[in-house]
C-alpha cells in the first residue's frame, strides 16, 4: 500500500517503531524487520530487548491469529521468515552480550519424517523466549536425540511428526529413555498435526504442544518446576 510505503521507520519513536514492526512482521516484510532491528540497536536497545519486545511480541500476535483461523500457513511462514531475518542480526549479539538462557532444548523431526515447518517455528519461538535450541534437523533416530541431549546437558527433548506413520516413533525414543533409566532427566515435549493430547499421554510424553506458542509456555512451566525441584532437593 502506498501509505505504508511512505513510512520512514527511522523517523518513528520507539513505541511507534515497535508497533510498526508488529505490522511488518504480520505482513512478512523481512527487509523492514531487519531495518527496524538495526534502528532499535542503534538507539541503544539491548539485543534481548529487541528480540522479546519487537520480534517475539509480533510473532505472538501472528500465532494467536493463526490459532483463531484469521491467518493461514503461508502468512505464518512469511512472518516466520521475516522474524528469522531479524534473528540473524540478533543471534551473534545475544551470544556476545550473554543474554539470559532459561533452558536447553534438543529438537528434531522423528525418524522417517522430513516435515520440519512446525519444528522450525517451535525452535525459533523457543530461542526467542530465551531457550538455547539444538536443532537436530529432520529424520532423527533415537540416538540423535539421546546422545545430543546427554552430551549437551539438555533440559528438554522436543519431537515433531507430521505423519500418522511416523508419530509412533516418539514412543520408541521415550521407551529407550526409560530402558536407559534417563527418562526423568528430561522434559519430553511432542507436537505435530496428527497428534493430540491423548497420544502424548499414551506414549509417556510430559506434554503435547498444539502450536509453537503453547510449546514455549509449556517449556517455561516445566523448566521452572524442574529448577524448583532441584533447589528443593
Amino acid at each position: 500500500m502506498s501509505e505504508e510505503d511512505d513510512i520512514i521507520l527511522s523517523e518513528l519513536d520507539d513505541d511507534e517503531l515497535v508497533q510498526q514492526m508488529f505490522d511488518d512482521l504480520y505482513d512478512g516484510l523481512k527487509e523492514e524487520i531487519q531495518e527496524g532491528v538495526n534502528i532499535l540497536l542503534g538507539r541503544g536497545w539491548q539485543p534481548y530487548e529487541v528480540l522479546t519486545k519487537a520480534l517475539v511480541g509480533g510473532m505472538t500476535i501472528v500465532g494467536k491469529d493463526f490459532r483463531d483461523g484469521i491467518l493461514f500457513v503461508p502468512e505464518v511462514l512469511l512472518a516466520a521468515n521475516a522474524m528469522k531475518g531479524g534473528m540473524a542480526i540478533l543471534k551473534p549479539l545475544l551470544a556476545e552480550t550473554g543474554a539470559p538462557t532459561i533452558g536447553k532444548m534438543v529438537i528434531g523431526t522423528v525418524k522417517g519424517d522430513i516435515h520440519d515447518i512446525g519444528k522450525n517455528l517451535v525452535g525459533m519461538m523457543m530461542e526467542g523466549a530465551g531457550f538455547e535450541v539444538l536443532d537436530l534437523g529432520i529424520n532423527n533416530p533415537v540416538e540423535n536425540y539421546l546422545d545430543t541431549a546427554e552430551r549437551e546437558g539438555a533440559d528438554i527433548v522436543g519431537m515433531s511428526a507430521l505423519l500418522t506413520t511416523t508419530m509412533p516413533y516418539m514412543k520408541v525414543v521415550i521407551d529407550t529413555m526409560i530402558e536407559r533409566g534417563i527418562r526423568d532427566n528430561y522434559i519430553v515435549l511432542v507436537g505435530g498435526a496428527p497428534l493430540n493430547e491423548e497420544f502424548g499421554k499414551a506414549i509417556g510424553a510430559d506434554a503435547y504442544c498444539r502450536d509453537a506458542a503453547v510449546a514455549v509456555e509449556t517449556a517455561k512451566e516445566y523448566v521452572a518446576r524442574k529448577h524448583n525441584r532441584a533447589k528443593a532437593g
Partner: protein, 227 residues
C-alpha cells in the same frame, strides 16, 4: 462445509465434476444394501469399480475431497454421515485411510462398528498397503489421478505458492521426488503430473498402480453383502 444433495435412485452413476467432488462431495443414490462413505477424491475410482463389477447393491456417498487438507475435520464428518444414514442400510463401510487423523478415524470406526480401509492414506492403498510400507519412501511427495487434476486446489493455492513462490523451499525443500501413482493410463495426466513435479522442483516418477487395495477391499465387501 456443504454436502451434496442425494441423487435420485436409478440416476446415472457418472461422477460429478472434480470441483463438485472437492467442495461438496457426492450424495447417495438411496438404493442398495451397503453404503460406502468415501473421500470425494476416490469417487471416480469407486464408481468405475462398481460399474465394472456390477456392484449395484453398493451405494456411494462422498465427503468433500478438500477435507484432505483439513484432516482434523474428517473424523467428525464421517461420524455425522454414518449417523445420518445408519437406519437406511444393512451395513456401512468407510473408504478412508487414516488420512492424517492420527488414529482418531480408526477409533471412531471401531466405536461405530464400521470397517474402514487399511493404511495411512490413499497413496498407501493404491500402491498396496504392504508394498507401500516396505518402500518407506521418506522424501517422496505423492499424487493420484485426482490430485494431479486438482493440484492447484489442493497444493498450489492453499500453500500460497502462486503469491509467494519464495515459500517453495520451506514446503518442499526436503522432498526429492514427486511420485505420480496413476490409477489410469492417461498420457495427458502423466504430462500434467510431470509439469507439477517441475513446478515443485522435484524429480518425477510415474507408477501405474491401478486401484490396488481399494479394489480388493470393495470386492470383499461386495461379496459379503446380499444382493
Amino acid at each position: 462445509m456443504t454436502t451434496a444433495a442425494p441423487e435420485t435412485a436409478g440416476a446415472t452413476v457418472d461422477p460429478p465434476d472434480d470441483t463438485t467432488l472437492t467442495r461438496s462431495g457426492l450424495g447417495p443414490r438411496g438404493c442398495g444394501q451397503v453404503l460406502l462413505i468415501a473421500c470425494g477424491a476416490l469417487a471416480r475410482e469407486i464408481l468405475d469399480l462398481k460399474a465394472q463389477n456390477g456392484w449395484d447393491h453398493l451405494d456411494l456417498t462422498c465427503l468433500p475431497a478438500i477435507l484432505h487438507n483439513h484432516p482434523e475435520r474428517i473424523t467428525q464428518a464421517v461420524r455425522d454421515t454414518v449417523a445420518r444414514h445408519r437406519g437406511s442400510y444393512d451395513s456401512i463401510h468407510v473408504l478412508y485411510g487414516d488420512c492424517g487423523t492420527g488414529g482418531l478415524l480408526q477409533a471412531a470406526c471401531e466405536d461405530m462398528g464400521v470397517q474402514m480401509l487399511p493404511g495411512p492414506h490413499c497413496y498407501s492403498f493404491f500402491e498396496g498397503v504392504e508394498k507401500f510400507a516396505t518402500r518407506g519412501e521418506v522424501t517422496s511427495f505423492f499424487l493420484t489421478d485426482f490430485l494431479v487434476r486438482q493440484f492447484d486446489a489442493f497444493v498450489w493455492k492453499p500453500l500460497g505458492l502462486g503469491r509467494h513462490p519464495e515459500l517453495l523451499e520451506m514446503y518442499f525443500g526436503n522432498y526429492e521426488t514427486l511420485v505420480y501413482q496413476a490409477q489410469t493410463d492417461d498420457p495427458a495426466l502423466t504430462e500434467l503430473a510431470r509439469h507439477h513435479a517441475a513446478r515443485l522442483g522435484l524429480t518425477f516418477e510415474r507408477r501405474l498402480t491401478g486401484y490396488g487395495d481399494l479394489e480388493t477391499a470393495m470386492a470383499g465387501w461386495a461379496r459379503s453383502a446380499p444382493r
